[in-house]
């Protein structure tokens, strides 16, 4: 369960930062900002290495006593940074990689959105929702803002109620006779 995710443009300004609202957001902003140095170091180290297969996933950037910070860079030099609770030892490497892959897919979809101008802050409320909803931590990936998931639940609940009522009514009729 991640505590904060950030999408950073190639000029190193943030395009999108979300963190769990219970915590002090400024702390995470600062943590993401300091992790950018480590990201740059890793990228230049990879550039010097003569390995053919260079991965997009940067792995653990640095651990603190409460949190671990993971990084990922794309071919267009857009960086993703994820801050994870250290106490959550169940999170394996594969899961972090798959979360980053989903984030990358969502970012690519945002890029293809005709209403999005590349370089702007990401305003789309639906763009990164799949990341929130379908991670290993379930719907509590980031405790998303109520406005975002509200519409989805509002659509779901009335139809559920209607079907339940319909079933109940259908079952009750034979007794009424």
């Amino acid at each position: 369960m991640a505590v904060c995710i950030a999408v950073i443009a190639k000029e190193n300004y943030p395009l999108y930062i979300r963190s769990t609202p219970t915590e002090n957001e400024l702390k995470f902003h600062y943590m993401v900002h300091t992790s950018l140095d480590v990201v740059d170091e890793k990228i230049s180290a990879m550039a010097k290495a003569l390995v053919d297969q260079r991965e997009l996933y940067l792995d653990l950037l640095y651990p603190t006593e409460d949190y671990k910070v993971y990084g990922y860079v794309t071919n267009s030099k857009v960086k993703f940074v994820m801050v994870v609770d250290s106490s959550n030892t169940a999170l394996r490497d594969n899961e972090i990689r798959s979360m980053f892959r989903k984030l990358h897919n969502s970012y690519t979809d945002v890029m293809c959105n005709p209403f999005y101008n590349p370089g702007d802050r990401i305003q789309s409320r639906w763009a990164l929702l799949p990341v929130s909803a379908s991670s290993p931590g379930g719907p509590y990936f980031l405790c998303p803002h109520p406005v975002q998931v509200g519409p989805a639940f509002c659509v779901l609940l009335p139809s559920l109620c209607r079907t339940c009522l319909a079933i109940l009514v259908a079952k009750m009729q034979p007794f009424g006779k």
Partner: protein, 173 residues
């Protein structure tokens, strides 16, 4: 199989639609036939730049979506090779026929049977109409280069349909 022509039809209509608007004279036009000519050429230049900017935005999105899984680009030449192979195959279902460079930031990409020019003619007929069908593709190349971190200027030239050359100029910083 019909997928390839869908984009070609759309592109043809785009060019036809944007070109049709150009007879509107620009502001401050002088009277008489000379004024109309001036209006026509500025209008034409504007529709070329509109087409190019459309291609640019598409190229930006494609540059994000196409290269996947590994950090494949160590240097400019790798990016150009990506354009010639992966981008061209994704959009036109064929690879670029030749890539030449002077290693000083100028690259010439040559396509011997460019799919958007192929249905038109083979030879010198329609030569003066050809440039407007290349504007979108120039923008596409520029947009993809921009997403991959390279600022460039892309121009195209046609000597005889359907052979066309795209020249990419990358200024030294």
């Amino acid at each position: 199989m019909a997928d390839t022509v869908l984009f070609e039809f759309l592109h043809t209509e785009m060019v036809a639609e944007l070109w049709a608007h150009d007879p509107d004279p620009g502001s401050g036009v002088s009277a008489g036939s000379r004024g109309e000519e001036v209006g026509a050429t500025t209008g034409q230049k504007m529709s070329l730049s509109v087409l190019e900017s459309m291609g640019f935005r598409v190229g930006q999105a494609l540059g994000e979506r196409l290269p996947r899984e590994t950090l494949a680009f160590r240097e400019e030449l790798d990016v150009l090779k990506f354009l010639c192979k992966d981008l061209w195959v994704a959009v036109f279902q064929k690879q670029m026929d030749s890539l030449r460079t002077n290693h000083q930031g100028t690259y010439v990409l040559q396509d011997n049977s460019f799919p958007l020019l192929l249905p038109m003619a083979s030879g010198l007929q329609y030569l003066e109409e050809a440039p407007k069908f290349l504007a979108f593709t120039c923008g596409l190349l520029r947009g993809a280069l921009c997403t991959l971190g390279i600022e460039s200027v892309v121009t195209a030239s046609v000597a005889a349909l359907p052979v066309c050359k795209f020249q990419v100029l990358i200024p030294k910083s």
